[in-house]
Symmetry: D2
Subunit: 142 residues, 4 copies
């Protein structure tokens, strides 16, 4: 079970993440070490050729990882985590549809959390991009 | 010498890259296989703790790579190039200042172009992040 | 179904891949876009602290990707494929056991093939490392 | 200035790194946060087509990073560091020559060290591969 609720994550977005508001990210589901986040289709994330720009996909992946971290750590620890590495592979052009990100913790360590995110065009069977990342957790003070 | 002018790149941004307009990217310099692009400091790119959000840094790096590709290839080839891989390492929190991206081609191949970008807080001596990437060029039709 | 047999892959190793012989790689299973390869535990792959060295793990992952490519492409195409990018994340120390690599194609394109490999200590439930990679296929001559 | 001598690093290889002995790695130079390491050309590192195999290049890069860490940290800290991420991009086929690795620290943090390595065919002007990596340092006990 997730250690944080969808509502609490949306509150955090409202208070602290203007880019996530701009992109309209909606957290759809949180589990134990998993998160599903939706980016609505919009002209403002397009690039030449009418395709969704890479930075919007990477932004969606990064936020999804952050919320995935929050599902598995105590709030004070998770909220202060920061990404140290993010590696994105772009497989194919996304459709002109919402993009849905599926985040998953690969290893939840004490000092670092390793994650992956798969990005899918809404209701399509194939991933458009795959992202792996490392989040550093704040040093334990106890 | 760059195969494209700063003005032509800014026109391309205006016409095709709403995210680059939103972030206010300004191309400052183009060389033979190099580009320098500035992201002005603004509250809309912040995240929790008042630091600049990772997605804005990755967005700046991706656009800088794209314009770096355009300095080295014929226009029709470069403009249709797409990123297939982008790997970002975050070294330290950026200052509350503009971020300046220095892009450089590592290898300009016929099918793929390999690049790196160093991101610096304005007028600071140390990089805040380092990004490597691969762009795929469109298949040659000639 | 795999386009190549286990026997044919082992022949290729014998003829062309002295490092794979040195490490004792054994191909255990090939499917349509999947491969399972075993690296036997041996003192020659250890590093300080008695743990298996990163380069042996990366070598296993790279060879596993190569054989995974061969399961999905015509022989002449697959055998000439070369890795252009390999990104490894090390999650935990491997046990003093064989390492088993599970390779899977993420996207089999015409010019590039994207893959991932999970590395497991034999009979353990948790991955020790995760690797993503890109292979470039030779230009089509037809 | 390096915190460790070339002789001490070679001793460490002899005692603890059989793969580095197998490959014949020779540390040529150590500076403050820099290292140059040579892999002699040998048939045992080849792959199909007579080119040097990716795993040998990645092995050279990983060892070079390790010794680069040792130039910048106290011995007990550096020797216990472990790689958590290694990202390799292969630019071109190496020549049938020695490969020389140039390692450099990008950021020496308290918990993590970020590095890059450029791999060159001996006496050639262009890099054959570029590697970025992250090493985790052991938790401070003091």
């Amino acid at each position: 079970m997730s250690k944080i609720t969808v509502e609490k994550c949306q509150e955090l977005i409202e208070a602290e993440y203007p880019l996530a508001i701009y992109w309209g990210f909606r957290i759809e589901d949180l589990g134990a070490g998993t998160a599903r986040v939706r980016m609505p289709y919009s002209p403002k994330i397009l690039r030449l050729g009418g395709t969704i720009a890479g930075p919007a996909l990477m932004g969606l992946a990064d936020f999804t990882m952050y919320f995935t971290v929050l599902t598995a750590y105590e709030y004070e620890t998770g909220v202060q985590s920061v990404s140290t590495n993010l590696n994105t592979t772009f497989f194919r052009r996304p459709r002109q549809k919402d993009v849905v990100a599926h985040g998953r913790i690969q290893k939840a360590g004490r000092r670092m959390c390793f994650l992956e995110v798969e990005l899918m065009s809404d209701e399509q069977p194939e991933a458009v991009a795959h992202v792996t990342g490392t989040y550093a957790l704040p040093p334990q003070t106890a």
